[in-house]
């Protein structure tokens, strides 16, 4: 049976692979036949993800993506990469009057600067070549659809979305594709650690057209589509995956 979404023969680098969407993406990519290279700061949880992958030949490498030298060292050791999943990111919530410069800088470093520099260096060092694909794991908040308290986070993702479009245009000349998935609420450890009651969570879920949150795998499958040859003519696209939450 013809499978245009197969990742057979591809090597995929997934950042932030120790949990949530990153972990699910690594697992699903391995099931679709890819060799996966995992990276994150926490070696222990990275190894846990590694043990969950399907098939052989996967590796992991710890990297502090906020440190330029750490990125350079990792990139210098990478084989040719056919797919980069720029997923690592986190959130700090604060209402506007209480935004602190240090916190904001911390967020920008991880959510915006790190993925941009990683792609930049991988293209410069020709680790990514013609036919390769980069997916930024962004957020609907980057399109201006943020919940109260998430304005800092939203702005870091908005920058990522703008970079996706601009770099897609530039890198198309090299045959390298750049896309973003703008995810809405997904059930990950981040959501289960939120300080809200079970009832509040259920009420929030009921406000979704499909009456639930997304699952990490569902974002992973969209990423796989964008990584695969099926999307060979797709670049500069922001794929919103939010269960229709932002339509209203």
């Amino acid at each position: 049976m013809n499978n245009p979404y197969s990742l057979e023969g591809k090597t995929i680098l997934v950042t932030g692979a120790s949990s949530g969407i990153g972990r699910a993406t690594a697992i699903e990519c391995s099931k679709m036949g890819a060799k996966v290279i995992l990276t994150a700061r926490n070696e222990e949880r990275l190894k846990e993800t590694l043990s969950m992958l399907d098939g052989e030949g996967h590796t992991c490498t710890t990297c502090d993506l906020t440190d330029t030298e750490s990125i350079a060292k990792m990139v210098s050791e990478l084989p040719e990469i056919h797919g980069l999943v720029n997923n690592a990111g986190f959130s700090i919530t604060s209402t506007v009057p209480f935004i602190k410069k240090e916190k904001y800088m911390e967020l920008i470093k991880v959510n915006t600067i790190a993925p941009v520099l990683l792609l930049s260096l991988m293209v410069k060092k020709k680790v990514m070549k013609k036919g390769s694909s980069c997916v930024f794991v962004s957020s609907v908040s980057g399109l201006g659809k943020a919940s109260v308290g998430n304005s800092m986070y939203a702005s870091t993702k908005g920058a990522v979305n703008a970079f996706t479009m601009a770099s897609a245009k530039e890198l198309a000349e090299k045959g390298i594709r750049v896309n973003a998935v703008c995810a809405g609420m997904v059930e990950t450890n981040i959501t289960s650690n939120l300080s809200v009651s079970e009832e509040q969570l259920e009420a929030d879920k009921a406000s979704f057209p499909l009456k639930r949150y997304g699952r990490p795998e569902e974002v992973a499958w969209a990423i796989i589509y964008l990584m695969s040859e099926a999307a060979a003519w797709v670049t500069g696209t922001e794929l919103v995956i939010d269960g229709g939450r932002m339509l209203k």
Partner: protein, 253 residues
Amino acid sequence: MYNPLAITGKTILVTGAASGIGRQCAMDFSNAGANLILLDLNQEALEATKQLCSPEVKCYCCAVDLTQADSVNAAIIEAVAAVAPVDGMLHCAGIEKTLPFNKLSDEDYKKIYNVNVLGALNVMKPVMKGKNHGENTHFVLISSITSIVGRPGVAAYAASKGAILSMVKTIALEIAPKGMTINCISPGTILTPLMQQMMESLTEEQRKERQEGFPMGLGRPSDIANTAMFLLSDGARWITGQNIVVDGGYTSR
């Protein structure tokens, strides 16, 4: 092999299946193991599409005018009886007329709207009824990048494709309680056989102009089929009400 984006065994209805993107989608879906219900005006060309599809799947052809709701209704009932309830629908049927907006007649505007927009609704309405659909049916409508960027001469076409983009958001909310999704795809210029012919008739300079803005070259019909297949699969069940741009970077200029 593991493939959460598979449409194997699903019954997919394709409008505009007699040519271009619709024909390629039918062929690719059949090779992915989906059973097909193919609709188009042109019976002969529809049968030719069937000949190009994998013989391993069921393929039911139905010549019908999509602007005639009653005939479409009857066709859907017959097709479902012959194949199976519809698990996915792809609306490719579409027409175009290039003229400055003030030279397009009322009739031009209506004709284009009737096929491109009402044509989709005339199929979707009977599919939504009773037992004509399976569980978690996914709808995909072909829009166009002219729904989001300007191109001189295509006012009627662009308006109809913009209508698709708008109605998808509303319909997504209406059908979500049934676990169904609807999305549209906005292709850039695709090298269908017809487009290929058109390109060959141009001078070198005109051809360059037509290709300008496509940093990755023009698209292939299968580029659209692959995206449609993804959206019709259960792997895309968390995506609804969206417009997926497949244009080789044209709109990111």
